[in-house]
């Protein structure tokens, strides 16, 4: 039962301009161009895969799920933080696709950045599960309500786009504050208080400049700025002492 795959008909030649970096070798970073035959379904990640498999086996980028679930493939595409796997190349409406790594993270090579700093203010134990939105007309059994994974896929797009995160290295940043706010909904009052105190600390919500870049770039509609606004409101209401400033 051998089914041959039909090679998709290439529609257009698109130039991929990729910022290359190899510590000590291509250092400082410089752009390199590749030409890729593109059809109307191909994602930027598909383009990167073609370049790696057919033109340069040493091209480094992160990828895993190919459908906006893992968060690894985030980079700057034509200057904007996006997921390579869900960005259709032709939807960009450009002849050239410029790819750069996320900003504000140490670079490991080409488009790959080191994510340890992203997790600095996210407690590894914070829960990943949350009640799923009810489906219209469904009788969700009360004894085992449906759960889903949190919307945040920890891609780092928001942090890379956040002007405050680049100005203040100590800023907890949009992803951690959004995650903290989500965790508050799952714990008792005493723990909520501790979480709010962390959010109201000098490294917390007060450093946010409400530029809203984070909510604009977030690929999974987490809207970090809304979570930060709510933390700010609650911090004010609970009267976190200004002496912390």
């Amino acid at each position: 039962m051998k089914i041959e795959t039909t090679e998709k008909k290439p529609w257009r030649q698109i130039e991929f301009r990729i910022e290359r970096f190899k510590p000590g070798r291509i250092d400082p970073p410089r752009f390199q161009s590749f030409r890729v035959a593109v059809d109307d379904q191909m994602s930027v990640l598909d383009g990167l895969e073609q370049i790696r498999l057919r033109q340069d086996a040493g091209l480094m980028y992160r990828h895993s799920c190919h459908h906006s679930a893992c968060g690894t493939c985030a980079c700057r595409i034509n200057g904007v933080e996006r997921l390579a796997c869900t960005t259709r190349i032709l939807s960009l409406n450009t002849e050239t696709v410029v790819l750069e790594p996320l900003r504000g993270f140490p670079r490991l090579g080409d488009l790959v950045v080191e994510m340890t700093a992203f997790y600095r203010d996210i407690d590894p134990a914070w829960s990943l599960l949350t009640p799923a939105e009810p489906i219209h007309g469904a009788a969700d059994p009360a004894e085992d309500p449906s759960l889903r994974l949190e919307a945040c896929i920890e891609c780092g797009c928001c942090v890379s786009s956040c002007p405050a995160a680049h100005r203040h290295a100590e800023f907890m940043g949009p992803a951690a504050l959004a995650a903290l706010h989500r965790q508050m909904a799952k714990v008792d009052a005493a723990r909520q208080h501790d979480l709010l105190a962390a959010a109201a600390s000098p490294r917390g919500e007060r450093l946010c400049e409400r530029a809203l870049n984070c909510s604009r770039v977030c690929p999974t509609d987490v809207y970090p700025a809304r979570h930060i606004a709510d933390l700010r409101r609650r911090a004010k209401a609970s009267g976190t002492p200004p002496s912390l400033k």
Binding site: K2, K8, Q41, H66, V112, A138
Partner: protein, 387 residues
């Protein structure tokens, strides 16, 4: 202690975890990011085993057992909302009794539901359904579940090197003594010595075996998946029939993933997602949940199953999803090399256990497996190992 080198950052992660728990020194090399092969981009179904009761009782039983273990050791990476098998035609319905019997035989708790009961839970199902059976399927975050194994292995001392591609095996006559790798960061090649090398390169394992001048019974079996926006159901929806194309919808986060197709390929690196497969997935999955017909693809991708081949040109859906590990000393007279092939993401822990048992025998040790009861560290500890 013996140094074991694992090639491949897919189910290799669960093996790294098992071997470090048993006390071995472990290095794992992966040519790209971890989970950039099949294990990061499969359909996301934590199988109850229901899909296999018709033709593969061994895999069915294995899946249910592992399903329960993973819910215990990695609960945070699993959406535990169950699954439904639904019958849409008289032919589907004719499979129901055999399905229920198969579930009982495999120890899988299965509960028949009337169409009304099924529609009350999942109102988007095809209202023409004739019957449903509820099973303990679940949905995994492919990345986070597997990263929990890597995080724990790393915390226990495993050295994990990404963007580090094996280009050759280091051989002394018929003995494998390590690997040649190119580190894509530095561009430099180096040799990593090892007492034993494990080929866990999934659909690419044939290439690694060829470096030792031998073959392994691997058949890359790609399949296409399509994600659409929105959870169309809370539970996984399967068609009640022997496994085929486009018969599973896996909701995950605020997406639903339609899948899959299957064919046999020679080169796992040249796999595309043909447009006609995408159209077929929409058409077939719309039979399960009609609303799917009006949706557009959010993402389209393909992945290659590392199928354990028993004879050439089989129906890819009928090939057993069981796994095997080969000691090439016994099989081909090559010492120091073990290959792990087949299985499912759902059975990655069991695959690791069986392979590590073989390694224990080969190294003359007496270490018991502890992965059934060892709760994994949160996957974020992979990056925050220091804390």
């Amino acid at each position: 202690m013996e140094h074991i080198l694992i090639i491949g950052g897919g189910v290799g992660g669960s093996l790294a975890h098992d071997l470090t728990l048993r006390g071995y020194r472990v290095t794992l090399v992966e040519r790209g990011e971890l989970l950039s092969g099949t294990t990061g981009r499969h359909h996301g179904l934590l199988h109850s085993g229901g899909r296999y009761v018709f033709h593969d009782a061994e895999t069915a039983r294995e899946c249910y057992e592992e399903n329960r273990i993973l819910r215990h050791i990695a609960s945070e990476a699993i959406e535990p909302n169950g699954g439904l098998f639904i019958a849409l035609t008289d032919e589907d319905l004719s499979h129901r009794d055999r399905f229920l019997e198969g579930c009982i035989a495999a120890g899988i708790p299965a509960a028949p539901l009337s169409p009304r009961q099924a529609l009350a839970r999942e109102p988007t199902l095809n209202p023409a359904l004739l019957a449903a059976v509820r099973v303990p399927d679940a949905v995994m975050d492919a990345w986070r579940l597997a990263m929990a194994f890597f995080a724990t292995a790393r915390a226990n001392g495993a050295v994990i090197r990404t963007f580090c591609e094996v280009t050759d095996l280091k051989m002394f006559g018929r003995q494998v003594a390590g690997v040649r790798v190119i580190d894509h960061r530095s561009g430099l090649s180096e040799t990593i010595g090892a007492d034993l090398v494990v080929n866990a390169a999934g659909p690419w394992s044939g290439r690694i075996a060829a470096m030792a001048g031998i073959g392994v019974p691997i058949q890359p079996g790609p399949g296409v998946m399509v994600a659409v926006r929105g959870r169309v159901t809370q539970a996984v929806v399967n068609r009640l029939h022997p496994a085929g194309e486009g018969d599973i919808i896996v909701p995950q986060r605020r997406l639903s993933v339609l899948g899959t197709t299957a064919w046999l390929a020679d080169d796992p690196d040249q796999v595309t997602a043909p447009a006609e497969h995408v159209a077929r997935l929409f058409a077939l999955c719309a039979e399960l949940v009609p609303a799917v017909a009006a949706m557009t693809p959010h993402a389209v991708w393909s992945a290659s199953r590392p199928l354990l081949q028993s004879s050439p040109n089989q129906d890819p859906f009928a090939i057993s999803r069981t796994f095997d590990c080969f000691d090439h000393a016994a099989r081909d007279g090559i010492e120091g090399l073990v290959t792990l092939i087949g299985g499912k993401a759902t059975t990655m822990r069991a695959m690791a256990e069986q392979t590590a048992d073989l390694i224990v025998r080969k190294t003359g040790r007496d270490f018991a497996c502890r992965t059934r009861e060892t709760v994994l560290l949160p996957y974020r500890r992979y990056w925050r190992g220091d804390i």
